[in-house]
Amino acid sequence: MPEPLTFEAVRAAVTGTAAAFRCVVEYEPAGGKGDKVFPPTYERGDYADENRQIDGKAVPCVLLDSVQSQANRMELALLDAWERKKIPLPVITVDFSGSNLPKPLRITSLEAPHRIADAILRDSLLGKTTFRKSEVGKKLDHVSNREATALFNLCPTALVFGMWDSTGPKGGLGAKFARALVSEIVGVNFEIGRKTSSRIDPAEIRKGAGPVFRDADGGMTVFEEEAKKIKGKAVLYGRDSKGKEVLYEKGKEQDQGSPSAANHGNVPPSIAKGSVTIDKAVQTTVLSLPALRRLRFPLNGQGRSMTEVDDAARTALAALALCAAALNQAQGCDLRSRCQLHPTTPFVWQLLDEPGATPLEFTLRADDAVVLFKTAVERAKQAGLPWLDEELVLIPSPQLAELVRLSQALAAAQPGDSEGVTT
């Protein structure tokens, strides 16, 4: 019967010889067994499938959520908990609110793809200084496995999910931290189904109602005289495949003038290969303890670290990883449109220690994971480790702000790339 996981158990695991915490959870589609789900598609519409040996048979399996995608979700779960003030966490935010953007924007170190080493933070300012040249940012220049204190202070998720400071002062030889936490979801015994697309226009606009033109403000008009003109010819609403404007030529068949270019009209039904049915989905999450034990945390500029400080930091990182996984599990498994999964087995964590021995088992609910994590952070602080309690706010450089502003303006002016179809 699994016991609830305690802080002491995590600490014992981290300071001992165990290899990993591992949690394997089974899911079924939210719509019930046998319902369709949509895996992520890759180039050419491929799914990432493989055959696995299960009970002596080759069973076709398909990737439902990749390692990178699960890591993103776990970081967003942490961000959500921090925003609700449920957990203490160092967060660095780039705040675009003073930059006159059409859409308000804040990007945190938990959302930036390369975390604290991301180019967005690099191109931002703390006060008047570029972030990496500020007192705070300079601490990152010398981090390594043996000197991870600054990262613990400013971005402990980088020590859990990995980081490569590839554009810092050392360029490609910049600090590299391997991830400690890996999670993935795979659908078992899948079969490819079919998906349909179609649209019925409630206004019943027909193709012959066109041509539709683009006016000077980028809006739509059916009146040729209101259209934007180039060399005396009216510009059609739709663009060609290269995104360029097309001029109206009477009598010529031009799709760019069809009402469908402005998302009106019916879309005839089509059937394509897509979606899968699965027997079940399996999420495997592994936290590597040797990866955490590799890190050392000297204090106050000393060359060597102290064992009790290292233990406290590593325990806090383990607690952070377990908390991220538990919060992600608690948020439910809504992976993408039409791919929602519901757990059918409990969240049980195994502690893998001696090879071949039966592992200890623990339960960990999200609320308990939060308490465990907060305890670990307190102990780490008591051991002398620094921890950024207040949100650190940066402002984007004017160049970055301008690029984002331009990007938002252009995106709003473009026609949507979906045709408003229902699938």
Binding site: T17, A19, A20, R22, Y42, E43, D46, A48, D49, E50, N51, R52, Q53, A58, V67, Q68, S69, N72, E75, L76, L105, I107, L110, E111, A112, P113, H114, A117, D118, A119, I120, R146, G162, W164, S166, T167, L173, A178, R179, A180, V182, G243, T284, V286, S288, P290, A291, R293, R294, L352, P355, L400, L403, V404, L406, S407, Q408, L410, A411, Q414
Partner: protein, 487 residues
């Protein structure tokens, strides 16, 4: 004796094969495991006794492995966000789509992360005859526990020193037909890695060692073989135009000629009789069995088109291993164990580049088992021709062709067939009609021989490779286990 155990905690291994960026490496090569141990030592500032243990380990002979088969995940391209440019606009100043957790666009570059899903998640590297001094053994055990990943950082493992490993499935082999090749260490590997690291360079590729699957038991006496060894030396086409089975003679002739000139250049001697097929350098054709060259074509599957995927060399079992290695190894691999690409000139058919095939996952046509019937689970008592059987003499009377084929089977050591059916029509999907194959020309008078397809049924299962008839050393008369549905 000792072993290192590696358990892949996520159930898969993410590591790129050094010879092919799109391919996952499985099983983990001993050198990759060594590099993971070395990294764990240096990154944790380990003690000198660990360093000594690593040095000792790298100097040991290549280990045997216990590793199951695997299935590769379908290779897909992942688009990974760059970090040199935060701009959400592409080079044409158009906004890029937001994806992942980032709320604005970012330039993304294609990357691949090949994954191998093994049938069993645990692998052992086994040194059956080696011993480690006790301090080194303890240090190695401690070092193993420090390793978090083998391959990509997401490829999490648990590693330990195992006192009682299972029997190996792969053993090192220097035989030229060794179908698998893995990178292994040498006594200077550790210093070489340190040297490259100090110069801020990535590790170079270590030397290669051939490996052979361990035979689970000796071939049972009830399965008769032929005078050819079952270990075919498989060469795959790396470059060159697509050719069909009709080009068999051109391909095998070119392979033979290329091998013979290689031997002249590399060994400085005329090819021995068992390769040239002649008694002496200018002698008449030999009566003794010699090296045979055969085409490897994609046949027998629903959409097979008979295209040639490569060629193989079948060595008579009577030729000693040492002699085979002496003559053939240097044609296939260099001193470091890297594969050599041989160029075969095929006249108007162009040029083919070929290389020893050492891939674990390869098309059926390039697997020796397809042509020997060993280990496929098929009861290989019925065989049919892929290239036509050349008859010894013109069949004048009814039954002459069958008689000729019967003798041809006996000549290569097969038991008397129970039933022989000759037909010009092909028996496998993808094989051309017999008349589409150019005739074998022999004899100084330029006589042409008659050939025909055939199906042969033996009393019990037999083991290949089966090459019969007058063209057997040049690729004609190649048979394959046959089922009635043509597969």
């Amino acid at each position: 004796m000792f072993a290192i155990g590696i358990r892949y905690l996520c159930g898969w291994a993410m590591a790129t094969h050094p010879a092919d960026r799109e391919r996952a490496e499985w099983p983990p090569h001993p050198d990759r495991v060594f590099m993971a141990l070395a990294a764990a030592h240096f990154e944790t500032g380990g003690e000198f006794v660990e360093y000594e243990a690593l040095k000792h380990l790298s100097a040991l002979p290549p280990p045997a492995l216990d590793a199951s088969e695997h299935q590769p995940r379908r290779p897909v391209t992942t688009f990974v966000p760059v970090n040199d440019d935060a701009s959400p606009l592409d080079k044409n100043k158009r906004p890029m789509m937001a994806a992942g957790s980032l709320p604005i666009g970012r330039n993304r570059q294609p990357r691949s992360f090949p994954v191998a899903v093994p049938d069993r998640d645990t692998v052992y590297l086994i040194w059956a005859d080696a011993e480690l001094p006790e301090p080194s053994r303890r240090a190695l055990a401690a070092l193993c526990r420090k390793v978090s990943a083998v391959g990509h950082s997401a490829s999490l493992v648990q590693m330990w020193v195992e006192e009682h490993p299972p029997a190996p499935t792969l053993r090192p082999s220097d035989h030229p037909s060794a179908p698998r090749r893995l990178r292994v260490t040498d006594p200077h590997r550790l210093e070489a890695l340190q040297g490259r690291f100090a110069c801020e360079l990535r590790p170079d590729i270590a030397g290669w060692q051939g490996y052979q699957a361990t035979r689970t038991s000796e071939p049972s006496f009830s399965t008769t073989g032929t005078l050819f060894a079952r270990d075919l030396i498989v060469l795959r086409r790396v470059e060159g135009r697509l050719l069909g089975l009709e080009s068999t003679l051109a391909l095998t002739a070119s392979l033979r000629n290329t091998l013979m000139s290689w031997l002249r250049k590399a060994l400085g001697e005329v090819a021995p009789d068992w390769i040239s097929g002649h008694d002496g350098p200018d002698g008449p054709p030999s009566q003794r069995p010699h090296l045979a060259f055969l085409p490897l074509a994609h046949v027998g599957h629903a959409h097979a088109d008979g295209r040639l995927l490569g060629a193989a060399m079948a060595v008579p079992s009577a030729i000693p291993d040492a002699e085979q290695r002496r003559c053939l190894s240097s044609f296939l691999v260099n001193e470091k164990g890297d594969l050599i690409t041989q160029q075969l000139t095929l006249g108007s058919l162009g040029v083919w580049d070929v290389q020893l095939d050492d891939r674990e996952a390869r098309p059926w046509a390039l697997r020796p088992e397809t042509w020997t019937g060993v280990g496929t689970g098929l009861r290989a008592d019925r065989w049919a021709s892929v290239t036509p059987v050349v008859l010894d003499r013109y069949p004048k009377a009814e039954g002459d062709a069958e008689q000729s084929i019967r003798q041809a089977c006996r000549r290569i050591g097969l038991p008397d067939p129970e039933e022989i059916i000759t037909t010009p029509a092909p028996l496998f999907v993808g094989v051309p009609h017999a008349r589409r194959f150019p005739p074998l020309e022999t004899g100084s008078k330029g006589g042409r021989r008659i050939h025909t397809h055939a199906v042969i049924r033996f009393a019990g299962p037999v083991e290949g490779p089966i090459l019969i008839g007058a063209g057997r050393y040049r690729g004609y008369g190649l048979l394959r286990p046959w089922r009635e549905d043509g597969r």
